[in-house]
């Protein structure tokens, strides 16, 4: 795989169509302002790192794009069309998938259960949620996707609670990636992982643009940011305060920008 220099990627990205854009997002919880006019652009096939100190508003912004939090004001557009999200299910239906911080899997379910949760096919259909599931078909579905996502060594019938943090996160990422049609959001996907496990996840993320997906990644690890992201957007006190094209060696500049000492 030939690696384009980060600058040229960024140029391509800014020339590309906007996939997702957030304009002037505002959200207050009582007297606490979480978002005070945050904006974010995400181009097609671009990986944007969303950075900021704790309490900068990253999580709230992500939750707004995911349909968990409803904004007080502001607009979210997906492919140029306004996006009205009333629930996480709306976001999923619009092609936005999220991997939440701290391993968002069901420990008591199997790998393929976790992979397909909320998307199970039942028979007969008119019975709705009381229709029967087909374990065989579900395991086939897992294998189809797993081979494309380099997690094929994970057995679909294994209970996920007994797997290591990295394997579990790989399943969570696989779930998001397999079903996302437009945007994948990763909230600190490597926070709980060891070196090798982080490495595997980052490699998986780096290849998402090949599938036509745009990615927002939140991370506190600047080395990871430099490895995967094309562009970084920095938030402070509920606003987007700056952005930077990511290339090798900008770690210090990013940290300075996050702390606001430039």
């Amino acid at each position: 795989m030939s690696v384009a220099s980060p600058d040229s990627i960024s140029n391509v990205a800014s020339a590309a169509r906007l996939a997702l854009s957030v304009r002037d997002a505002r959200k207050a919880y009582g007297f606490v302002t979480a978002l005070a006019g945050a904006s974010l652009d995400l181009h097609e096939g671009e990986i944007v790192a969303l950075l900021g100190d704790n309490g900068a508003g990253k999580s709230t912004l992500i939750k707004a794009i995911t349909g968990i939090v409803t904004l007080d004001s502001g607009d979210i557009e997906l492919d140029g069309r306004p996006l009205r999200l009333r629930s996480p299910a709306d976001a999923r239906a619009s092609g936005i998938e999220t991997v939440f911080q701290d391993l968002a899997v069901f420990d008591n379910l199997t790998v393929s259960d976790n992979f397909l949760i909320g998307r199970e096919q039942t028979w007969p259909r008119w019975l709705g949620p009381l229709g029967l599931l087909s374990a065989g078909q579900e395991q086939r579905q897992w294998r189809e996707h797993a081979s494309a996502l380099s997690v094929s060594h994970v057995s679909p019938s294994q209970e996920i609670g007994l797997m290591s943090g990295g394997q579990r996160q790989a399943v969570a990422v696989a779930r998001a990636v397999a079903f996302a049609r437009r945007v994948v959001i990763l909230d600190e996907p490597t926070a709980a992982l060891g070196v090798r496990e982080s490495d595997e996840i980052l490699t998986m993320v780096r290849r998402l643009p090949e599938r036509g997906l745009s990615v927002i990644i939140v991370s506190h690890n600047m080395d990871h940011v430099v490895r995967v992201a094309d562009r970084a957007v920095v938030m402070r006190q509920g606003r987007s305060v700056g952005e930077m094209t990511v290339r090798q060696g900008v770690q210090k500049d990013l940290v300075a920008m996050i702390m606001g000492v430039t």
């Binding site: 299910a89 899997v105 069901f106 420990d107 008591n108 009381l130 599931l133 797997m163 943090g165 394997q167």
Partner: protein, 345 residues
């Protein structure tokens, strides 16, 4: 360098060994209820000459049918991290309602529908209060309902006991099919239905998911509130069915029916290995849990041990089951860390 490699190889080998040992322990914990049940039956069989007699076993099954029915519904509620202590008074309310509406000397099969219907209504109210009322303590909500429902049962009956029961209900509670108590058979069929719904339908998987991680369930867009409400509604319904069996066995409708049964139901579920942390357990183990309680009661009775001791034995059983559940969580965490260590080696 070579020595270093050797050490690394050895440590990963022992990690795998430890993991296998832990996996076996975990499997034993999961199979615990059936092992305990078989051990108890064998032990009482050896100690008490009449314990393993057709008559006594029939009696044991018939007695445990009521607790089994209660346990099936209670399990769904515990699965989603709740608890329902109002089921005892639902027995009283369903019994009294049927006796008042249909009379006791008119044989009427309409009654068969009324028992579960009364339970369903109470269950829906429980579920609604817990989900929509924003009260985060299911225990307190259902304690309040326990009082309210028991009071309504007293109000409807005026405090009187009506003697008599419709023949259909009497047969269900006391009749036999091929020597097996009809009530036990009915509960077994019901358990089969529950097993199918929990293990083979989308609703069942979602119920386990909500119990395993309610937050993630909401994030991935599952109808969490409706799922929790459905668990309470079904729990109420099975309490109504238990009321029917209770009515049939006692042959009279007392507003004080079913007192204390909520504890037996919760005990059956917990002794059956379901986790109060939610998301764990199986229907078959709930049945084993109910049978374990009935076996302890009946066995001690056969041995002429004071019935006061059986409460103590069952209480100790609950505590043991809870501690074993904590141990299970601990073992799972250990297996996970050992796996992670192996991956990084």
């Amino acid at each position: 360098m070579e020595a270093h490699v050797d050490i690394a190889g050895k440590s990963s080998e022992t990690a795998a060994g430890r993991r296998d040992y832990l996996s076996v322990l975990l499997w034993l914990l999961q199979a615990g209820p059936i092992i305990i049940l078989v051990t108890l039956v064998v032990a009482f069989g050896l100690l008490a000459p009449h314990f393993i007699s057709v008559r006594n076993l029939q009696n044991l099954l018939a007695q445990s049918a009521i607790v089994c029915a209660l346990g099936l519904g209670q399990f769904l509620v515990i699965l989603v991290r709740g608890v329902d202590v109002s089921v005892g008074s639902v027995i009283a309310l369903s019994v009294v309602t049927v006796a008042t509406l249909t009379g006791v000397d008119q044989p009427s099969s309409v009654a068969l529908v009324i028992y579960p219907l009364v339970g369903l209504i109470v269950g829906l109210i429980n579920g609604f209060l817990i989900v929509k009322g924003g009260i985060p303590q299911p225990l307190v909500v259902t304690v309040a309902m326990l009082g309210i429902v028991a009071g309504v049962a007293l109000l409807i009956s005026g405090g009187n006991t009506l003697v008599g029961v419709s023949p259909a209900v009497h047969w269900l509670a006391n009749g036999k099919v091929l020597g097996i108590p009809a009530g036990a058979l009915m509960v077994l069929v019901l358990a089969g239905l529950f097993w199918l719904m929990l293990r083979r339908t989308q609703w069942g998987r979602w119920l386990y998911a909500v119990g395993g991680n309610p937050d993630v369930a909401q994030w991935v867009g599952l109808p969490r509130d409706r799922l929790i409400m459905s668990a309470y509604a079904i729990c109420g319904t099975t309490a109504g069915i238990a009321g029917m069996l209770y009515h049939g066995r006692t042959g009279s409708a007392s507003p004080l029916s079913g007192i204390g049964y909520e504890l037996d139901a919760i005990t059956a579920v917990v002794v059956g290995g379901a986790s109060l942390f939610g998301g764990r357990g199986s229907i078959t183990n709930v049945l084993f849990g109910a049978l374990i309680i009935a076996t302890i009661r009946s066995g001690l009775q056969q041995l002429d041990v004071s019935p006061f001791w059986s409460s103590v034995a069952i209480g100790i059983g609950i505590l043991l089951a809870l501690e074993l559940d904590v141990l299970r969580k601990h073992i799972e965490t250990r297996i996970r860390t050992l796996r992670a260590r192996q991956v990084s080696q």
